[in-house]
Symmetry: C2
Subunit: 235 residues, 2 copies
């Protein structure tokens, strides 16, 4: 099970194929829109439980909850069942630890048309409340799947996806992408941990390393921003 | 004055021209690296005050402080004194409210070579502890300046900067940028609030509106990711 907090998330959940087990509404703290949404949930036959504000706060993770949260089934998603047709982009997260970054990457991957986001061990749990929140609903329809390095490499090899890694020592992105023909039809891009970058396994396993040129005064880009630029440039 | 928390931020501050007034170190909670850094601070003649862990936590904003924080002067930065030579990019924030987004945008703007980041009223205070933290030190050297709409427009007009706004109703970015000659030598880009987008004043005041194409299943990109893509594409 996972928890989705706030009006927007509960609303997006309702419009997704994910099964909602139940919804909690704060008796005092819920705002008008939360109460209207709770009524819609109830009409769908989903249990709605009113709780005291103290109970609600103890269940909620956000600092300013809107007085509504849903408890839902983590969808079963399988690497083998990913629909790959023609041109395809995969985002691979190698021990990305900040839940806000992971949620933002899932949102970005969905927005920029990636087929899926795959998370390697060491990456924060995809269904962590803060990942759910910062994905802004994208996690409810974009396939995001945790897998091992072995499962990833066998999937990429079966689907003939080259793996490009984002690494400061890589070839500059602008030199790699001179025209649309420079980018393979199928491509998986791996980005690494916020502090340490790619693991040595990913760095060595990648078919190519690419870098985004940045000023020498700055150590690195935020990983979600870097993923967005790579996905856009390599679309 | 502003507060910079954690080893990395204090270390970056020390290497910047900003005046540090003093440093607090937690008596029990500071890790080894924090203690070494505090010794360096003291050698520079900057006052270091050891405080109890409870006192430290009451002064710190982060959930997992590393037992060190610095109090420093907000640098005086003036729009009129911005050094503009040749090709230049400016990032303008129109009521961007989330401090993590603003800090990440400052980091991105510095990394991708923007001359400055200008914040319009309604944008979170640039020296908020969370903005400082998420800028990863970029705020200490990249000129980030709060200004009014009138100050902005007069500066842009004097410097002959066209203003392009990021807006879903704009011309697709890939159609705007077909080659390097499609992008003006000087360019200011304005991005809007996380929920509401650009204010009507910015939308109407912009010389051109541009959009990043996204999937219909996603409402928008995160504002820091969108800024990163625009800055990279329009570099």
């Amino acid at each position: 099970l996972f928890v989705a907090e706030g009006i927007r998330a509960v609303d997006e959940l309702l419009r997704s194929p994910i099964t909602i087990r139940g919804v909690l509404v704060a008796l005092g703290g819920a705002d008008e829109r939360s109460r209207i949404l709770a009524a819609t949930v109830q009409e769908r036959g989903i249990p709605v439980q009113a709780v005291t504000d103290a109970e609600f706060v103890s269940a909620a993770d956000t600092e300013t909850p809107q007085g509504i949260l849903a408890i839902a089934d983590v969808p079963r998603r399988n690497l083998a069942e990913l629909p790959i047709h023609g041109r395809s982009r995969l985002v691979v997260l190698d021990a990305v630890q900040d839940p806000g970054n992971v949620g933002t990457i899932v949102r970005t991957a969905a927005a920029l048309g990636a087929t899926a986001t795959l998370t390697l061990p060491g990456t924060v749990d995809l269904w962590n409340a803060k990942v759910v929140r910062s994905s802004m609903g994208a996690l409810f329809h974009h396939p995001a799947i945790a897998c091992t390095w072995e499962e990833l490499t066998s999937f990429l090899s079966d689907g003939q996806f080259p793996l490009w890694g984002a690494d400061p020592a890589g070839e500059p992105l602008h030199a790699v992408v001179r025209g649309p023909s420079d980018v393979p039809e199928r491509l998986a891009m791996v980005v690494g941990n916020e502090g340490a970058g790619l693991s040595s396994r990913a760095r060595e396993g990648a078919d190519k390393l690419v870098a985004i040129d940045i000023a020498s005064t700055v150590e690195s880009l935020n990983v979600a921003v870097a993923t967005g630029i790579m996905l856009y440039e390599l679309r």
